[in-house]
Each structure stands twice: as C-alpha cells, then as structure tokens.
C-alpha cells in the first residue's frame, strides 16, 4: 500500500481501549517509542485490530508538531 503520508512507523499493538465511539490504541514502534492513536470503533472493527497485531502508524508531515 502506497500513501502520500511521509511518515509510516511500523510497530506492534500493545493495548487497545475501546470506548463508545472511539478506540484508543498504543503501538510499540521500537526504540522505546510508543505511538498513541485514536480511531473510530468502526475503523478498528474493519481492520480487525487485536493486541499483538503488526500495524503501521501513519502521520502526515504537516500534522507533526516540533518542540525544541
């Protein structure tokens, strides 16, 4: 799958927290870095996401905030 988003971080789902509309999941992308993602329940169900699944966290470069 090719996307225009410049950042694609491969990792493994370490936890899934399903709310009434939104599912929050934590992805361990290695190097001690954990990415949190908030997606709709429908999206989580469509993708059949489970803890341990290999996934990709996709972030547009224009969405990244830089601190120094």
């Amino acid at each position: 799958m090719k996307l225009s988003a410049r950042n694609a971080l491969k990792g493994r789902i370490e936890s899934i927290n399903k709310g009434m509309v939104t599912t929050t999941l934590k992805v361990d992308v290695g190097h001690g870095i954990h990415v949190t993602s908030s997606i709709t329940n429908d999206a989580a169900e469509d993708l059949g996401l489970k803890v341990g699944d290999e996934v990709t966290a996709i972030i547009k470069s224009s969405d990244v905030i830089i601190g120094k």
Partner: protein
C-alpha cells in the same frame, strides 16, 4: 433557525458606486459629530477612508453633501448640507422599503431546504473542502459523537465531534450541514484498491489537476456528482505515488479532522 436576507442598497451613478450603507453612515456620523475626524473614529474608519468616502459623494452630487473648514488647533469643522441631509433621508427611506421586501422573501420563500442552499454558498472559510450534505446518522458516546453526512449520491463523510458541539449545532438526522476538511489533512493513495487504513473517510476520484510548488503539490480530484476535493501533499509523495492527471486516486482523511457547520 430561519435564514436572514440582508438586502444592500447601493445607488450608482455612471456605473460607479455613489452611496451605499457605509457612506450614508459616514454622513450621519459627520452630521452628529460635526467633524470628519470624530466621525471616522466613531465608525472605526481611518481618517483617509472617511475623507475619501465624503469626497466621492461630493464629487458625484450636483452640490456637495458635506462642507468643511480647515481647522486650527481644535481640528477641522465639517457640516452636512441640506443636500446631504436629503440624501440621508432618501437613502434610509429606500432602504426601509427594501428591507420590507427582503423580510417578506425570508418569511415566505426560505422555508424549504432547497432555499437554504444559499447559506452554504455564502459561507466563506479557509478550508478548501466544504461539502454540503444531510445528516443521516448521529452516534453518541460520552465525549464524542460520530456524525455521518451524505454529501452526494455516492459519497458520505464521517465526522467525530464532541457532544457539546452536536448539541450547539442541533445535529440530528435530516439536518443539513457542511463538512469542512482542510486540504492539508488529506492523505492520497493510488485509487486501484481500497487502502487498509483506519481513516474513516476514503473518497475515490479521478485526478484532474496537479499544481507543484517548491515543496508541496496541490491535487484536485473529481469525486463525481460534480464535486471536487483538494489535497495538499508533498511533491516527493506525489512523485513516489506516480499519480498523473487522469489516474484514479483515493483521498483519505480522519473523521476527527472534519469540522461541521450549520446555518
């Protein structure tokens, strides 16, 4: 909420604006304050803006509407002439008539959904993508609400907004709303397959235009039913995707990136 029609009266001479509401308000302020400086200040105009407006009226009338006297330490003195006062009265009288007509149109004519299309045309925002549609589903949770908007025969847009916003906007099935999506929120994929990603909104279209800047590319997709979607992605991405005009593409954006607006 009933839409309001604000009819603007503008009197023209030789095709140029002679007086509109702003200039009449300026004449009234000069009459009240006896000074262009004070009138400009009261209306929040610059002195030059006020002076230009009055000069334009004076130039276009047979006799001046305002006479001025250059003023020493206490500033200039300005007076609205009999001609100017007649202009104010005539303008306000015409405006009252026009308001009665526009009020009647608003009461009689703008009750239907199709007439309400007007407001989405009138709305101006910086978001490149604004899709008018009808709410078909509202799914509530404790904090967030998932709202589904049908924007065309083939496309729906899902928005996740807060409960408070949903209540403020009075969103419920059947209600008309506009979905706003900044072009920079859109991710593009090639359009030959459905991408397996969580973005709730996946809208397929045909690329009709690509404008390259130094860093970014602005891409226009024809998404059918006469609607278009704009995406801004990096030029590097476009080159890697190898998308060209005429190719099918998929525009992806998160439901949480959609802003909803109502009249």
């Amino acid at each position: 909420m009933a839409p309001k029609i604000d009819a603007l009266l503008a009197l023209r001479g030789d095709g140029r604006l002679l007086v509109g509401r702003d200039r009449i308000a300026m004449l009234e302020a000069v009459a009240e304050h006896g000074s262009i400086t004070k009138a400009a200040h009261a209306l929040g105009f610059s002195y030059k803006g006020a002076w230009d407006a009055i000069t334009a009226i004076n130039n276009l009338l047979p006799r001046p509407a305002v006479v001025t006297q250059a003023g020493g330490r206490r500033g200039g003195f300005a007076e609205v002439t009999e001609e100017g006062r007649r202009l104010i009265v005539a303008f306000r009288r015409l405006e009252d008539k026009l308001t009665r007509i526009s009020t009647a149109i608003a009461e009689e004519g703008l009750g239907t959904d199709s007439d309400r299309l007007f407001w989405s045309l009138a709305m101006k925002t910086s978001a490149r993508n604004a899709f008018h549609g009808q709410v078909i589903e509202v799914k509530r949770a404790t904090v967030n609400v998932e709202v589904t908007l049908k924007v065309s025969e083939r496309n729906t847009i899902v928005a996740v907004i807060t409960n408070d916003s949903t209540d403020d906007l009075g969103l419920e099935p059947g209600r008309e709303a506009v979905a706003l999506v900044k072009s920079s929120f859109v991710i593009l994929a090639r359009g030959d397959e459905m991408p397996r990603i969580s973005a709730r909104n996946k809208i397929f279209g045909t690329m009709v235009e690509r404008v390259d800047g130094g860093v970014n590319s602005e891409v226009l997709l024809d998404i059918g039913d006469g609607k278009f979607l704009t995406a801004v992605v990096t030029r590097d991405s476009m080159d890697e995707l190898g998308l060209s005009v005429g190719d099918r593409a998929c525009a992806l954006f998160k439901a949480s990136h959609v802003i909803l607006a109502v009249a």
